[in-house]
């Protein structure tokens, strides 16, 4: 049994963590009252936030698993304030984690564009990597592109810091890409969070169960270490009428992925986990579809979990050699930084702001 650490930082991280806990309870609104969490592993979830209200809005994560970092005026979307806040409070967080025993793997969930999560997460990963040996993966949520220039530039800086933090892999999810799931923003968030949660739980199960064809944490580490360090997860369910091939295919298509990617061109390594009744698990079908994927990308690990009477489900983990979507984001971010810079300059000219202020311009990211 694996010991899993799952940290959700900032509002987005907290809410996805809450969705994971909810999913583990079975998904109902009152499930936490009557049900036990169905984690296959020992999973410790920790929510970290400077905004007490975000923590209070969690419903499926135990209060003892929510760590509030008090900060006088919050952090806003200011990553500099955020990073300072983490440094001031990192002992508190690290102590809380260390009290929870040994771990085999860690996940840090955050949005890239906010203030708290985006600034805490890279620093936290760095701290953890410095202190522990277990692999740590970050799950990052990219913003809606229209959310504004600050979010875009935050994302760009955050991703870079995440990359530098020593994380064993960055799993991408993109609000912009997934925005079709729900109507209003709240239900869109909930929908996206549930998708992420469902995939993470499935992944944990795949890493920690007796499978016909075994995949384990080592395989996962191998997959994640391939490519450019970025990865995404695809998922699809069969309705019983379609073949396992088409379900596998669906999990790799835009409808199944969390992040826009042409897996056959951009993929580096993959892990495909299939679960369902034996009658759906045609070895020939699976093999031919996996072989097709393998011929395009590098190595593909496959795992099969037999569950009597269950419709087929497929989870695919893909590491990416390159990602055009991320390049697009960075292009936007650069634009955003320039826009912010211009704004600041115009404001400075207009106000004839004091020299100290203008001296740091160009040296640091603009907010």
């Amino acid at each position: 049994m694996l010991n899993v650490l799952m940290v959700g930082a900032g509002q987005c991280g907290n809410r996805i963590l809450d969705a994971v806990n909810r999913e583990a309870f079975g998904g109902g609104k009152f499930s936490k009252y009557y049900s036990r969490q169905k984690f296959p592993s020992r999973v410790e979830t920790i929510a970290v936030n400077t905004a007490i209200n975000d923590l209070k809005e969690m419903h499926y994560t135990k209060a003892k698993d929510r760590i509030h970092i008090p900060n006088l005026h919050g952090v806003g979307a200011n990553r500099i304030v955020g990073k300072q806040c983490f440094i001031d409070n990192k002992d508190l967080i690290m102590r809380n984690i260390s009290e929870r025993g040994e771990f085999d793997v860690g996940f840090v969930i955050t949005s890239t564009s906010g203030g708290t999560g985006s600034s805490f997460s890279p620093l936290l990963i760095k701290e953890l990597k410095g202190k522990y040996d277990f692999p740590i993966y970050s799950v990052v949520v990219l913003p809606f592109r229209e959310e504004g220039t600050i979010y875009l530039q935050n994302s760009a800086f955050c991703l870079k810091e995440m990359y530098d933090s020593g994380a064993d892999g960055i799993i991408l999810a993109d609000n912009q890409f997934l925005k079709d799931v729900g109507g209003d923003i709240k239900s869109a968030y909930d929908g996206i969070n549930n998708m992420v949660a469902e995939r993470l739980l499935f992944l944990l199960e795949a890493l920690d169960s007796e499978m016909m064809m075994v995949t384990d944490l080592g395989d996962f580490q191998t997959v994640m270490s391939g490519g450019a360090g970025f990865a995404t997860i695809g998922f699809a369910k069969g309705d019983g009428s379609n073949t396992i091939r088409s379900v596998i295919h669906d999990s790799l298509s835009p409808s199944g992925l969390l992040f826009s990617s042409n897996v056959f061109e951009e993929g580096s390594r993959a892990m495909i986990i299939m679960r369902g009744d034996r009658k759906y698990m045609s070895i020939d079908d699976i093999s031919s579809e996996i072989d097709k994927l393998a011929s395009h990308i590098g190595h593909v690990f496959k795992g099969v979990i037999v569950r009597n009477g269950e419709l087929p489900k497929v989870l695919s983990v893909l590491t990416l050699e390159s990602t055009s979507e991320l390049e697009n984001l960075y292009a936007l971010a650069v634009e955003a930084i320039q826009i912010e810079k211009d704004k600041r300059e115009r404001m400075d000219i207009r106000k004839e702001a004091d020299a100290t202020f203008s001296m740091i311009e160009g040296l640091e990211p603009q907010y």
């Binding site: 009252y33 135990k62 003892k64």
Partner: protein, 427 residues
């Protein structure tokens, strides 16, 4: 006959005895005269003219003897003596001596001497001397012996009548005694004993001048009237009146008892006590486990005390006795009120409180028994119908404890669990 001889013995001492003593004395007197040489007997002389013709003659009856005249030619008469028989026949008697137009007949203990004194063309004057025979009956017989009637024994029938056959104590009853002679001879020397009856107090004689002689008749003759007062209750057959009489034709004494009417005298109404007995209740609807109180009022309506009073509620199966008035005793776990006496006009109020322990409609019946001075009286009253409904927490009582405790425990456990769970997810 038996009765007659009986009365002969008893009554003889009173009136007859007197007569007899007189008679015997006379006989003794005459006997003494005879002894001294002069023959003397009790005799009666009858002089009478008897008509006759050559074809028919009349007669003269003395008791059951008839002197018959028959003309054989003008101024020449034959005189015969006949004896009438009960059968209606008559026989001609032979004279014992005849001389000088004087015929002597020995009849029974006595003698009849018939003397032709003078005979004319149409009648004969005769002198009849009857010796040692009491002449009870004498009559001129037109048409002679064939027309004479046999004189028989008298037979009185006595009736005793009352003017009312039912009466109350203190009422006056008039008793009338009547007699009829249904025999064939006159009853003579009649004496009536009115025959008073115990239980009636004699008040007065209204009429007592009854005839001492009663010929054969067809209707009753009033003989005696008196009044008595009913003195005690009961049904009485009055004692008979007794008539004592005799006939001279037959040397006999008779007695006749009267009829005996029955009079019922009502028992005197004894003043008794009378208890009125009512029940009232404080409610007609109640919930299970609530209480209902019945108030029983007993009042002696009379001035006579009642005794051995017993008030017993007959408790319906949905009530259990709870409490009540001080006078209530518990006997065999049942409430009961027992009082030795209820004075005149006494009023008592008793309360019985019951607890309703079953749902349903019912009534309370209360029994009262007492002695009213004469007899034991038993009466009952019933309350209005009362309805016992389900109580607030009845469901608890209706099921064993675990039935409702279990869900309560489960609910508490669930609530506790939820609370604990909630607190885990709250900050």
């Amino acid at each position: 006959m038996h009765e007659r001889s009986n009365y002969c013995v008893i009554e003889g001492i009173s009136k007859l005895k007197k007569n007899r003593i007189v008679g015997y004395s006379l006989l003794l007197f005459f006997f003494l005269i005879l002894l001294t040489g002069s023959v003397s007997a009790e005799s009666k002389t009858i002089n009478t003219e008897i008509s006759a013709s050559s074809t028919s003659g009349d007669g003269y009856q003395i008791n059951n003897y008839v002197v018959q005249i028959t003309f054989i030619r003008e101024s020449r008469a034959i005189i015969d003596l006949y004896e009438l028989k009960e059968s209606g026949d008559s026989i001609k008697l032979d004279f014992t001596t005849f001389s000088d137009q004087v015929a002597t007949y020995k009849v029974g203990e006595g003698t009849i001497v018939v003397k032709e004194v003078n005979t004319t063309t149409s009648k004969t004057l005769v002198e009849i001397i009857v010796t040692d025979i009491t002449v009870e009956y004498q009559k001129y017989i037109d048409g002679g012996v064939d027309r004479a009637i046999y004189i028989g024994e008298p037979s009185l029938e006595l009736s005793k009548e009352v003017d009312k056959t039912s009466a109350n104590i203190g009422d006056t009853i008039r008793v009338t005694i009547k007699a009829i002679n249904s025999g064939s001879g006159t009853a003579q020397r009649i004496s009536i004993d009115p025959g008073f009856t115990p239980g009636f107090t004699f008040k007065s004689t209204i009429y007592s001048t009854y005839p001492t002689e009663l010929p054969v008749g067809t209707s009753y003759t009033q003989m005696y009237i008196y009044e008595v007062e009913a003195a005690k209750g009961g049904t009485f057959t009055l004692s008979p009146a007794i008539a004592t009489y005799s006939s001279s034709v037959f040397e006999d004494d008779y007695t006749a008892p009267s009829t005996r009417p029955t009079v019922t005298v009502a028992e005197e109404a004894i003043e008794t006590s009378n208890l009125s007995f009512t029940i009232s209740q404080d409610k007609t609807e109640l919930k299970r486990n609530e209480k209902i109180t019945f108030t029983i009022n007993v009042e002696n309506l009379k001035d006579v005390p009642a005794s051995m009073i017993k008030i017993t509620p007959i408790i319906p199966n949905n009530l259990t006795y709870h409490s009540g008035s001080e006078d209530i005793d518990m006997i065999n776990e049942k409430p009961i009120i027992q009082k030795s006496i209820f004075g005149s006009r006494y009023e008592g109020e008793y309360k019985f409180t019951f607890k309703a322990d079953k749902v349903g409609a019912n009534i309370l019946t209360v029994k009262l028994t007492y002695n009213n001075g004469v007899e034991d009286i038993s009466q009952e009253v019933t309350s209005d119908m009362f309805y016992v409904e389900r109580g607030k927490y009845d469901f608890m009582a209706e099921y064993p404890i675990y039935v409702y405790i279990t869900p309560v425990i489960i609910i508490i456990a669930i609530a506790g669990w939820l609370h604990w769970r909630r607190s885990q997810f709250r900050m």
